[in-house]
């Protein structure tokens, strides 16, 4: 399996330097279709995205990404992932333990 990165040219260049091959340069128009495509790709184990791009996606797709295990979504920048996990902890355990 491979690691994939979806984002604008600013975000993805560094990952190319780290040797990652599955890189998808997107803009606001093709973001949703690219993310849907990566979700269907069985070769992708981890999907890296910027938090701002995640926020541009429709609510339903965002929910699918948050619940997805294969590929696992890792967001960078902002406080997206930690706040998602925080909400999930509050919902499941009943107490905010992410302090």
């Amino acid at each position: 399996m491979e690691l994939a990165v979806v984002g604008d040219s600013e975000f993805i260049t560094g990952f190319r330097l780290a040797g990652i091959k599955k890189i998808f340069e997107v803009n606001d128009d093709n973001l949703e279709s690219t993310v849907n495509g990566t979700l269907k790709d069985s070769e992708i184990g981890i999907l890296v995205m910027h938090d701002d791009d995640i926020n541009k996606l429709p609510e339903i797709l965002r929910g699918t990404l948050n619940d997805s295990v294969e590929p696992t979504i890792v967001t960078l920048g902002g406080t997206g992932e930690s706040s998602n996990l925080r909400d999930k902890i509050k919902q499941s355990v009943g107490v905010d333990l992410w302090k």
Binding site: M1, G14, L17, A18, I46, V69, V74, K88
Partner: protein
């Protein structure tokens, strides 16, 4: 199960007793599973917090480094260098079981490479690009670690929620309703027995 739907018979009473016993043992087991999952979750919570903090710090550092490389070398040089890289890190996703919850175990081929193995010419590029590549390799390592831990956490949380719902449903809905039905049948059977005795006495009298 509503009380008025229950047939007041002995066989129904025996059946209900069996159901209550099964529900109670299931409730006990699920409660134990929930507690076990919460313990596992607490173990992983500290790790997840650290990994997220490290990941954010690595991303910040890597962004700064690539920014410097772009401003010194120019965006086109950095991009062309990036396209020259050959080996992509491969990851292996295996799964293991924590109290019935299947969680992934992600292993990767070495992400960090020595400068001469990266694939671009050392002489043609500056140390700024090397530093940027280095920091992005560290970031990818952290991403792989974060992916494993955060997925494990998500799965554990999902299962904790599911188990909690089941425990609550058994504790506050299923068992009380079954007990209520059992009490109803018992009272109804006693009542029927009294009616029968009274009827027999009346027959004997006449």
């Amino acid at each position: 199960m509503a009380v008025n739907e229950v047939k007041p018979t002995r066989s129904e009473l025996i059946e209900l007793k069996k159901k209550i016993k099964l529900s109670e043992s299931g409730h006990k087991l699920l409660k134990m599973k929930r507690d076990g999952l919460i313990l596992e979750f607490f173990e992983i919570l500290g790790k997840a917090k650290n990994v997220r903090a490290e990941l954010d710090a690595s991303f910040k550092e890597a962004s700064e480094k690539i920014g410097i490389a772009k401003s010194v070398e120019g965006t086109i040089t950095v991009k062309s260098t990036a396209f020259a890289l050959k080996d992509a890190p491969h990851i292996q996703v295996e799964s293991h079981n924590i109290m019935g919850v299947v969680v992934p175990k992600i292993e990767s081929s070495s992400v960090r490479k020595p400068m001469n193995k990266r694939g671009y010419g050392v002489l043609g590029t500056s140390s700024y690009i090397d530093e940027a590549a280095d920091s992005y390799e560290i970031l990818v390592e952290k991403i792989i670690l974060a992916a494993e831990i955060e997925t494990t956490m998500k799965r554990l949380l999902d299962d904790i929620e599911k188990t909690k719902r089941r425990v609550n449903a058994l504790e506050f809905k299923v068992i009380p309703e079954l007990t209520e039905a059992m009490v109803f049948i018992r009272l109804r059977l006693e009542e029927m027995e009294r009616e029968n005795t009274f009827r027999l006495k009346r027959i004997k009298k006449s």
